[in-house]
């Protein structure tokens, strides 16, 4: 298996950086399935199988993979919303794996999430101001109103939207609200789960620009999960390709795209249709054929 070669590269830290923002060491996560046979228990589903990587402070780290590759599970574990079956995860050098909910408070302050679905990520019964301010309430922040106004402005929304309800906004605007909420507790790490997949093409670029600007201005560390390779290529410095619960390849974005090493990565990149490829005569049959350099 080619992941042996990559896992060596993946070994986190090596002590050179001060502290990695995120460090994941040999994480596995198994799920039990309901029994279907009387004699044997069902084999567990291995959602993650020995995943290791590290994200230094300030990096834009992309995770690419198709549905069922384990990226959602990984993300939940990073955010302290799920526990690995084995292995460890450290945020800013602090191990979060055996911690109780109360002890996870520093994660809740330092790491925030942005979600895919602009419809389901905002509570329809809450006003925008309360949504954006929710992390502040949870952390007992004073001066909530000013902070909310500041945040709305930062994501390019007029401050008077605080009194409105989510259904009054378009998908792109909702995603801005979602980003404002994530920034509320002044996190140092943003984990974005397919943040532009549900958006119209004409709006997608706006949101991508906004994310890039904020990451720059606030010197955030970004973990960007997507199935869309071109989006990750635009956003990220470094990328990890996930397949079947494992990271099959990782490296600087351009390098992975220009010279993919793992056969899966090659197939993935070959399968992505682009305007340029199409106009130079690449057909559907070509996309389906495995990439051969």
């Amino acid at each position: 298996m080619p992941d042996q070669s990559t896992s060596a590269k993946l070994a986190p830290g090596a002590g050179t950086d001060p502290v990695d923002a995120i460090s994941v060491r040999d994480v596995t996560r198994d799920y039990r399935r309901p029994r279907t046979s009387l004699r044997h228990p069902s084999p567990p589903v291995h959602a993650l199988r020995g995943v290791s990587f590290a994200v230094p402070q300030g990096q834009r780290f992309g995770i690419v993979g198709e549905s069922g590759c384990g990226k959602s599970t990984l993300l939940r574990i990073l955010a302290g919303l799920d526990r690995p079956t084995s292995g460890s995860v450290a945020i800013d050098g602090r191990d979060i794996t055996g911690l109780r909910e109360r002890q996870l408070r520093f994660v809740r302050e330092r790491l925030q999430l942005v979600f895919q679905d602009p419809m389901s990520s905002l509570d329809p019964r809450m006003r925008v101001g309360d949504i954006v301010g929710e992390p502040l309430v949870a952390q007992g922040h004073p001066n909530r109103r000013e902070r909310v106004a500041e945040l709305l402005e930062a994501v390019g929304l007029p401050t008077d939207v605080a009194d409105r309800y989510p259904h009054q906004f378009s998908g792109g605007q909702r995603q801005r609200i979602s980003i404002a909420r994530a920034l509320a507790p002044r996190p140092k790490i943003i984990v974005a789960d397919e943040p532009v997949s549900a958006l119209d093409v004409s709006v997608r670029a706006q949101v991508l620009n906004l994310i890039a600007d904020l990451v720059d201005e606030l010197s955030l560390t970004l973990v960007f999960v997507s199935h869309d390779l071109s989006v990750v290529r635009h956003v990220c410095d470094r990328v990890a390709v996930m397949h079947d619960g494992q990271i099959v390849e990782t490296g600087p974005t351009e390098q992975v795209y220009e010279e993919p090493q793992h056969p899966y990565t090659r197939r993935l990149i070959a399968a992505v249709p682009t305007l340029g490829k199409a106009l130079s005569g690449v057909s559907a049959a070509d996309l389906n054929r495995e990439y051969r350099p």
């Binding site: 198709e66 004409s202 709006v203 997608r204 390779l229 220009e258 249709p273 490829k277 199409a278 106009l279």
Partner: protein, 352 residues
């Protein structure tokens, strides 16, 4: 629902090659127009893309051609299909049912729910052959179903025919839906975002199967998607829809390299993530897509368009630039200025 008499000049249509002729198609709900003035022709074996964002009316167009719109939506205009002696708009269910599945077939977006969960896959395919009596009996229909499953590349088609939909993945289910659609060698295959719900590698496979399927049968295809790259890969000709209207159409290469409508130009710019300005920012279109039925009067794009002027408050006429191409814009992208926004194809192609 009364079919509007065909007003377009007869010379512009009805050439023997035409498989589908859509004229003045309009879809409305409660007096609000969701699709307006859609006019196009598809010739035998031709693959035409219909591209648009949410609320553009692209799916409504497809469903109105199939006659499958919800009851509260009203369709007017004319949709003629070669070999069918009546207009599809306003045709009753009995007449439409003879056309659907035989002359026109459709592949839907959501493969997970498109198949009956309580019926074996083989029977669902055989059914479409038996309804239209293209196979004489159950046994031969069943054999044909297995053959179709083999054609869409399902391993062990015999076993697949005997399985239920939930035993398949999304991509496999979409192949079953495709098998159903292709079963009677339709003259026209309508695909409504057939790969949007699928993973990239699976998408490549399904797209390949769709193209091969229609090529083998010399079927024409209307392919609806929001993905410019997919349409460019699969289709020969493309129509760009926005706000319920076709704003530009033409051969794929022409439209994507030398767009004339400002919306097309913006869309190509915004979807190309390899082009950034000197500050590293992507090209964007301002504002957001209005909800269906709430686009501005006049030019539907004028509230987001940098070039908009007062004249845009009236509706721009269609300006033909060729037999199948044209645009509707008062301030088109100048023909020689297109290189700034068109796709830098050499660069991009080289990379892939």
């Amino acid at each position: 629902m009364t079919p509007v008499p065909d007003t377009a000049p007869a010379s512009a249509q009805d050439s023997p090659d035409d498989v589908l002729a859509v004229r003045n198609l309009e879809v409305a709900v409660g007096g609000r127009k969701l699709v307006e003035d859609v006019d196009f022709t598809i010739r035998a074996g031709e693959r035409v893309g219909l591209i648009g964002e949410s609320g553009s009316g692209k799916s409504l167009t497809a469903l109105s051609i199939m006659g499958l719109l919800p009851e509260d939506l009203r369709t007017t205009g004319s949709v003629r299909l070669a070999g069918v002696d009546h207009d599809l708009v306003g045709a009753d269910e009995t007449r439409m049912s003879r056309v659907r599945g035989k002359e026109i077939a459709m592949v839907f977006q959501e493969p997970m729910t498109a198949l009956n969960p309580t019926m074996r896959v083989g029977r669902q395919i055989a059914e479409v052959l038996l309804i239209h009596r293209t196979r004489p009996d159950r046994a031969s229909a069943r054999a044909a179903a297995v053959e179709l499953l083999a054609q869409v590349g399902l391993p062990d088609p015999e076993a697949a025919a005997h399985a239920y939909p939930h035993q398949f993945s999304g991509g496999q289910r979409q192949r079953v839906v495709l098998a159903i659609a292709l079963a009677n060698d339709p003259a026209l295959l309508v695909c409504d975002e057939p790969t949007t719900a699928l993973d990239v590698t699976v998408q490549a496979r399904v797209l390949d199967l769709i193209v091969r399927g229609v090529e083998d049968r010399r079927s024409a295809m209307l392919f609806i998607t929001h993905d410019l790259a997919v349409v460019a890969t699969v289709c020969e000709r493309v129509m760009v829809m926005y706000g319920g209207r076709v704003v530009e159409s033409g051969p794929v290469r022409e439209v994507f390299t030398r767009p004339r409508h400002r919306y097309t130009q913006g869309l190509i710019g915004a979807s190309d993530l390899s082009v950034v300005d000197d500050r590293g920012r992507l090209i964007t279109i301002g504002g957001s897509v209005p909800p269906a039925g709430h686009f501005p009067a006049g030019c539907v794009f004028r509230n987001r368009c940098d070039s908009a002027s007062e004249s845009c408050a009236t509706r721009p006429d269609w300006r033909p630039t060729g037999p199948d191409s044209g645009y509707a814009c008062f301030h088109p992208v100048p023909e020689n200025g297109a290189h700034r926004t068109g796709v830098p194809m050499n660069q991009e192609a080289g990379r892939a």
